[in-house]
Structure formats: C-alpha cells, structure tokens
C-alpha cells in the first residue's frame, strides 16, 4: 500500500473517530451540551488525536528504521571479496537497490511476470539489458551475489511494508476504540486537547533547537577532520593566507579575521551614529506626517539585495574614494578597499539600527518624558539624559545585532573590498573577510578531503562562535538592564 494511502486511511479513521466521539459525548449527556465537561468538539478532537497521532508517529519511526534494518540484513549476503573489488560497500549497496527497484518496475510494467521476477537468474538472463529496456540503467553487469542480495532486499522490503501498514492501521483503530470508549460526559476532553496543543508547541521549538545543534555538529565534525590534516595552532595564529591545492598551503586565520573586524568596525562607525540619530529624530521630533514618509523610506534600505549594494560599492563608492581620497592622500591606488566595503555595509545596516532603536525609544514610557519636561528640560536634554539612558540596553542590543549581520556579510565585501587576504592598517587597501574565503574555498571543483576545502568549515565554525558570542553578549546586556524602568 503506498504511503499516501496509509496516511489517508489513518486520517479517515481519525475523522470517523471525530464524528463518533462527538456524537457519543452529546448522547451521554442526553443531548444537553451544558452538562458536558467540555464542548462537544473537544471530545471529537480527543478521539481524532488519539487515533491519528500514535499511528503516524509509529509510521515515521518505522520509515526511519526499516531501511537501516534491511541494509544490515542484506549486507551480510555480500561476500567480502566483492567489497574488495569495487572498493566501497556503499557502491555495491546502491547497485543492489537499483536492481531491486528495477525488478519491481519491470513487474509493474509487465516486462516480467511475478514468477519470472522471483526466479530470474544472472546465469541465464542478461539482467542489465532487461532492465535497460524498461529504462533502468545499471553501470555494470549484475553478478549472482548482487542479484541474490537484490532479491532478498525485495522480499524484506515487501514484508516490512506489509507489517508497517498493518501496524499503523491497527494502532489507529485501537486508538480510536480506546478514546471512544473513554468518551463520557465527565471526561475532561478539553484538558487532553490542551496537552496535545502544548506538545505541538514544544515539538516546534524542539525542531528549531535541534536544527541549530545539527548545524553546529556537522560543522564540528568537518572541523575536526580539518584539524587532523592541518595544525590548529597554525590555523588560529598564522598570519598568512596562501591556499594552494597542490599542497604546502598556509591557512592562517588572522588576516581574514582582521579584515572581518576592520570592515565591521567601519560599517558600525557609519551605521550607528546615522541610524541612532535618525531614530531619535523619528521617535522624538518628527511630526506624524514626516514620520509616515521617512520611516518607510529608511526601511526600503533594508529591502535592497546585498548584491545591489555590492554593485554600488564596485561602481560608485570604490572609484570615488580612490579618486578623491586614496590617491591624492597617497594611501594607494586600489578602488576596492576596506573603506569602500565598510561604508557601503554601514549604509546597509542603517535601517537595522534605526528601526530597532526607534521601537526601543518609543517603548520608553511617556511618563518619563513628562517628568523631564515638567522640570523644565528641553527636548534634547530629555533625550540625552533620560530617554537614551533608559533605552540604552535595547540600543546596545540593536548595535550588536547589526554587528553580527556585518560579520556575516559576503557580497558587499567581495565586490567592495576584494579577495586579497592582507594584514594592514591602511583602510584604503584591499582586504577580505572570513565569509568571502569560505565561498572561495568551496566553489569550483573541490576535493572534500583536502585541508584547503575543509578549512572552510573551520572558518565557518569560528565565525559562528563569534556571532554567537555577540548575540549572547547582547542578550546578557538587555537582560541585565531591562528592569530599569517598568
């Protein structure tokens, strides 16, 4: 029975359970729903959930476990010298699966009868040709061991599927019967449904957390491989970045980290004052009409794709900085520079800082403003001495969020600051960042067992650690100072 039919059958059972449960509840109260502990729908929902949820859970677990079990059983059939020949067990197993699927497909299309499919022998039939005629391409001729394994695979698969269908449907029916038998006017169906809702919410948040854990784990595993091939000390303290796929690379983190921090610093130097001041203007001074126009205009900046900012950096800001500042002042002749990327990234971050700060400033209670005005303070005195201190934790949080965004930015850096990994103080020199190098190491033909490719994961993990640290710092600051005003 195909999977979709099993699911539909379970849902149909559940729906029937809903109707039955609801009816039984109403009749147990003699038709007067005021006597029921819960509304009739809750009784229906309870039966539906008890029928559907355990059955579908078992289905999911079964689908996850069955392939692993079958794989283990089939693997035993394959002799060791076959494995030696083709080099990898996984290659043979994929052949086995293809043959098994091919036989099934041949059966479906009528190219083979059930009996023929069961009795087929590699000695008498050219299985490769037979399967090719129905559109299943095999890389190699099929030998007896693989065929035997494939046949075993087929039988196990069929039994497994039958058992699964039976188990799931029986479980759904049992759940329905159990919940139906418990349905009575005193049964607290509302509370049961409440618990089901709670577990859905918990499940959702668990998925989010597990995804993060999964991402970190995969990064950690790859990074461990990298550190087997390349000494950690040289990675963290190396001052040279010269990757070469022929070997003998220098993969030092410091030039990349320096570029990242330098560009982020300049970006914040642009974004924080501009963003904060515009937020103060919008929140405290601007009239309603001005605010209605200016706020969406600023937020449009947030909607511009970073590649467009990159073009702006490449074509406008870079050459301008070179012609009017770098060359006349003797700082160099490069149009891609830390300054270019930093300024353009700063512009990109303005809406982050201004929009978040604006919300935070608006959240400062009006009573504090009244108190300050009532003492004869001017508007700017009030902003400087009352509102900003009260809003400070939130503003710091906004700035740190903007910083993590800047650290993770790639496109603007590629187009604005170039790809040369240099350690320099000159802001008009081309530099590059961690993210750019991650992209650089993983694009094109890469050999995932070389340190030159694996270094990308170490870089990614380092970046993740830095931004995570910043976010934790932001959370800490916000939490520590949050209760300053009610």
């Amino acid at each position: 029975m195909p999977l979709i039919w099993i699911i539909l059958a379970v849902l149909a059972l559940g729906a029937a359970g809903y109707v039955l449960g609801r009816k039984r509840a109403v009749s147990s109260a003699g038709g007067d729903i005021r006597i029921l502990h819960s509304l009739p729908n809750y009784y229906g929902m309870n039966v539906f959930l008890t029928a559907v949820v355990p059955a579908l859970l078992v289905l999911v677990v079964w689908l996850l476990v069955q392939p692993a079990v079958i794989q283990r059983q089939v693997t035993q059939l394959i002799p060791d010298n076959d494995i030696m020949e083709s080099g990898e067990l996984s290659l043979i197993m994929s052949d086995v699966r293809r043959v098994a699927d091919g036989l099934d497909r041949a059966l479906e299309q009528g190219a083979l009868s059930r009996e023929e499919a069961r009795m087929i022998r590699s000695e008498f039939t050219n299985i490769r040709e037979t399967l090719a005629s129905i559109g299943v391409a095999l890389g190699d001729d099929v030998n007896a061991d693989v065929l035997a394994a494939a046949q075993r695979y087929r039988t196990l698969q069929t039994t497994g599927n039958t058992l699964m269908t039976a188990a799931v449907l029986i479980l759904a029916a049992l759940g329905l019967g159990y919940a139906y038998s418990r349905t009575h006017k005193d049964f607290r169906a509302r509370n049961t449904v409440e618990r089901a809702v709670l577990s859905i919410l918990i499940l959702a948040s668990t998925i989010a957390i597990l995804t993060t854990v999964g991402i970190v784990l995969s990064m950690v595993l790859e990074t461990r491989d990298f550190f087997h091939l390349y000494p950690a000390r040289e990675f963290f303290f190396g001052t040279e970045w010269i990757p070469s796929f022929e070997g003998g690379s220098h993969l030092g983190l410091l030039p990349l980290l320096w570029g990242t921090l330098y560009i982020t610093f300049i970006a914040l130097l642009v974004a924080v004052p501009v963003g904060l001041f515009s937020a103060i203007y919008l929140a405290e001074y601007a009239g309603r009409r001005m605010r209605g126009i200016a706020k969406p205009m600023i937020e449009v900046l947030a909607g511009i794709p970073t590649i467009v900012y990159g073009l702006f950096a490449l074509i406008t800001v870079g050459p301008m900085l070179r012609d009017y500042f770098a060359e006349p002042l003797g700082f160099g002749t490069s149009s891609s520079s830390v300054m270019t990327a930093g300024i353009v990234m700063g512009i990109m971050l303005i809406p982050f800082v201004s929009s978040l700060s604006d919300d935070i400033i608006n959240a400062v209670p009006q009573s504090l403003r009244d108190g300050s005005y009532g003492l004869g303070a001017t508007q700017s005195e009030t902003v400087k001495q009352v509102i900003l201190p009260a809003a400070l934790p939130g503003i710091v949080g906004a700035i740190l969020l903007a910083a993590s965004r800047a650290i993770g930015e790639t496109m603007i850096v590629v187009m604005g600051a170039g790809a040369a990994a240099t350690l320099s103080l000159n802001p008009f020199e081309a530099m590059t960042t961690v993210t750019v190098k991650i992209v650089g190491q993983l694009t094109g033909d890469t050999d995932f067992s070389s340190p030159e490719a694996l270094v990308a994961f170490a870089l990614g993990l380092t970046l993740f650690a830095i931004t995570l640290g910043l976010n934790i710092l932001a959370l800490f600051i916000v939490r520590k100072y949050r209760e300053q005003y009610e």
Partner: protein, 268 residues
C-alpha cells in the same frame, strides 16, 4: 465658638496672600473637542488650591495649561489669558522650558527616572545650573529630600536606583525632584491616586508643609483629600468651572446645586 474664630483667622490669612496665577477666560480645544470652557481662576501664593470634579471634567487639562505641558500635545489649542505674576505665560516671548522651571509638576503615577536617587533630585538643578559646585549640589539634594520627608529613609543609599523605592517613596522622590528646581508654583496631578493610605497621609502632610514656600495646585478625586489639604477649591464639571471659593465654604455651603450634588455623591 472657638472653632468659628479659628476658621475666620485662616480665611483672613488666605485673603492676605498675593495673587500668583490669574487665569482669565481660558478655553482649551483638543482637535474639535471643546475641553475647557471659559474658565477664570485666581491662584494665590502660599496656598493650596484643589481642583475637584468627576472624571473627564477637564481639571487635569486645565492644570497642564498652567505650565504649558499641553504644548507637547499636537492637537491641543489654548486660548484666553493665564498670567503668572502679571505676565502672560502664553506670550510668544515666554520660553515654555523656563516657565516649567518656575511651575513644577508632580504626576499621577510616580515616574522617577531610571537613575540613582541622587541623580533624580539633582536633575533639575543641573539642567538649570542652580549649583556652582558639587557641595552646593549636595546641599540642594539634601534640602529637597528633607522637604519631601524622604531624607531619613534614603540618606544611606543615594546611589541606589530611584525605581527601587516603594510607591510612596517614589512619589515623594518625584516631589523632591520638583522642589529641587525651587519652583514658585507646584502643580500636582492626582499625586496620591497610585498610593496606599499610609503613603497618602505622608504626602498630604508634605503638601501642607510645602504651602509655607510654594503655591500648590492639586487635582484630586478624593473630596476628603481636597477638604484636608486645601484652602481654596475649584469644582469643574463638563469643562466648566462651576464654583470656586474657600474650601470650607465649598464643602459646607455650596452655592451651585451641581456642586452640592457632587459633594453629596449624587453626580460623579
């Protein structure tokens, strides 16, 4: 008989006081709403004047006209004359910021800044440059806290945040903060409505002491409070000033039937 004589003495004392604020034909509009209609009130120096009346009658709005706090509301428009010491406070030459230093305000809900107790009190004096050095500032802070009857409770923790005090202490801190700029008039907008009875009693006692130096105007919902702390009472109803006179007269012998109805609890 003795009581009657005392009463007359108090009244005569009030009559001797000089005029502080004279409001003449004041109208206030919120957009299209006519919130205050042709109100005339004379507020005397070193006197507590109470504004009473049912909710929404405009007494708080009128109070906020006296230090131009309504300027911060866009749609609010004030017409008529309000003279402070004979000068029109709505004259274009008058800077509302300077005016608010002279006419301090205490709000309904205690609103200490999220700063230390010391910084809360020294906020006004610092802004207006009232102290030449740190020791003068210390002196102003101590004096103001003493006037607000809070000094003994907080003198050992002046650096603690003002928001950490209890509700009554917070309100007295706000009074100290207002007193610290040495205003001439102190406006209080239902200063006890968020306080428990004990804190209320403390603040009322304080208001009575403040009368020695300032002219105090208090908006209150509690008629008992008005009777306890004020010498003059103004009764507002639906944006009109119904009756204004000595507190003893308003509460014992109101001239207008609406005042009588409100005081005896028939409207409110």
């Amino acid at each position: 008989m003795d009581d009657m004589n005392d009463m007359r003495l108090v009244e005569r004392a009030v009559d001797d006081k000089e005029l502080k604020i004279a409001a003449d034909g004041v109208d206030v509009f919120y957009g299209d709403t006519h919130a205050i209609k042709a109100v005339d009130v004379n507020i005397l120096d070193k006197t507590v004047t109470a504004f009473i009346g049912p909710s929404g009658c405009g007494k708080s709005t009128f109070l906020r006209c006296l230090n131009r706090m309504n300027d911060t509301i866009d749609v609010c428009r004030v017409t008529g004359n309000i003279l402070l010491d004979g000068e029109d406070i709505y004259h274009p030459k008058v800077d509302p910021v300077q005016l608010r230093a002279k006419v301090g305000m205490v709000f309904q809900k205690p609103n200490p800044f999220p700063k230390s107790i010391y910084d809360n009190v020294s906020y006004g004096p610092r802004i207006h440059g009232l102290a030449r050095n740190k020791s003068e500032l210390d002196e102003i802070v101590e004096k103001s806290l003493r006037r607000a009857a809070l000094w003994d409770e907080v003198k050992d923790r002046l650096t603690a945040p003002g928001t950490g005090l209890s509700g009554g202490q917070q309100q007295r801190l706000c009074i100290a903060r207002a007193v610290a700029t040495s205003p001439e008039v102190l406006l209080m907008d239902e200063p006890c409505s968020a306080l428990d009875p004990i804190a209320t009693a403390q603040v009322e006692e304080l208001i009575d002491e403040l009368r020695e130096r300032f002219s105090v105007v208090i908006v209150t919902h509690s008629m008992q409070q008005a009777a306890r702390v004020s010498q003059k009472t103004a009764f507002f109803h639906l944006g009109e000033l119904v009756e204004f006179g000595d507190t003893s007269q308003i509460f014992t012998n109101p001239k207008d039937p609406r005042t009588e109805s409100y005081i005896t609890g028939r409207i409110g």
